[in-house]
Homo-oligomer: 246 residues x 2
């Protein structure tokens, strides 16, 4: 009277893996835990992926794909970025910038912010994207889209290549840093207290040795976790824009 053996599918596994990763994080997520959530055995997972690393690569590529879809949808709807970034309007292009360049930079901005939105939702994604090179399918598409947006910029080919890699690299690199800070913040039971404690700790250092840190402690309330990422992205794009002037 054995119950029917559970039957899996890659989509189910991906789904379960995402929720597990979201709740416990990348380090703490174990194949046994994942199998248990699927009401299945550990070894079964090895039929769908060669191991934990590849499984996470597959899952990451899935989320990267969703980011690409979102970006395409936004472009069709003529939206400059996902709605959660309304407080960060794209900077005005300079008068010296060709409309082709300005449009390309806006496309890049939209694309990267869509990816960053996924990173905010899935804190483990960025560091995983770092580990897996541009081998997976969607990773290549992402790079391609960034590059296409640069083709009308007037930059020479070498610069286009360099810029495309800088932008793609920026997203995962900076995203990983921001995600890490978010993870630490969430790990503390009381995030608010943790934050003020951190600031107090910094304030405890000698003002003589750390004048800048002291001068700036009061400004933290003006920032949220997305500020760094978006400002850095806009700095890079601003620098790229300026490259096209000469």
């Amino acid at each position: 009277m054995a119950r029917t053996r559970t039957s899996l599918s890659l989509e189910q596994i991906i789904e379960a893996a995402i929720t597990t990763l979201d709740t416990v994080g990348a380090e703490k997520m174990t194949l046994r835990g994942l199998a248990a959530q699927l009401d299945s055995g550990v070894a079964s997972l090895y039929w769908y992926a060669s191991g934990k690393d590849q499984l996470m690569a597959i899952v990451s590529d899935e989320l990267l794909g969703r980011a690409l879809d979102e970006a395409e949808a936004l472009e069709r709807a003529d939206q400059p970025h996902p709605k959660q970034f309304e407080n960060y309007p794209p900077p005005e292009p300079d008068g010296r910038t060709s409309t082709g360049t300005a449009e390309g930079l806006l496309q890049i901005r939209r694309l990267v912010l869509c990816l960053f939105a996924q990173m905010l939702e899935h804190r483990w994604l960025a560091s995983q994207l770092i580990k897996a090179g541009p081998d997976e399918q969607n990773s290549l598409s992402y790079w391609e889209l960034v590059g296409q947006a640069l083709q009308n910029s007037g930059l020479d080919l070498t610069r286009q290549l360099q810029a495309s890699m800088v932008v793609s690299t920026y997203a995962s690199g900076m995203g990983a840093e921001v995600s890490q800070r978010a993870i630490e913040r969430e790990a503390a039971e009381d995030a608010e207290a943790q934050h003020t404690a951190q600031i107090d700790h910094w304030a405890s250092f000698s003002e003589e040795d750390f004048p800048f840190v002291h001068s700036v402690l009061g400004e933290f309330e003006n920032l949220d976790e997305a500020s760094d990422f978006v400002m850095g992205l806009d700095l890079v794009l601003s620098g790229l824009e300026r490259l096209t002037w000469d």
Copy 2:
């Protein structure tokens, strides 16, 4: 007639850990291996650090400290950057930029490049710096130095804070990405063949779907592993410079 038990010191452990990490990488470095190299027992390491994580945090902070020392030495010698970056001269400041700002940006550039030099020498460093927040001593000093370089830039305090965090975050985030690619390249026995194989693989995708990738494949020979990092850094700094104009 037992041989004298080996006596350790934190400095020895750090030294051995660095060489071990350099040779086998962060994942493959085990406490047992480290203890063996020190001709000591595993449990002994726990007297000096609370575990593997803290040990790596200590080691990372040590290397960050060396980067700070190097930057200070270079500043005293009036060198714009470590000698391995001679092929990447700092960009000319624009006429609209105050000398105070231009000097500050150069200081930041020198500092970040010194850290990046350590990352090139120690491939595991960047991703480790991501994991450990700005708690350790030298990490705070690093942030402070970046901030001090911004104090004469004319930016308001909130912008100073934001910019300082963007720059510090950029270094480890982008460094982690670049390091990861270098690790993968070294993992292959024949790095050269691996590289051309990668390019061939990209070339195998349809030119219709990936026009940019195809257009740019021939440009890879113009880049080295430091290109991305330095160009991205200069883009960020260029964007910062432009922020001070308005």
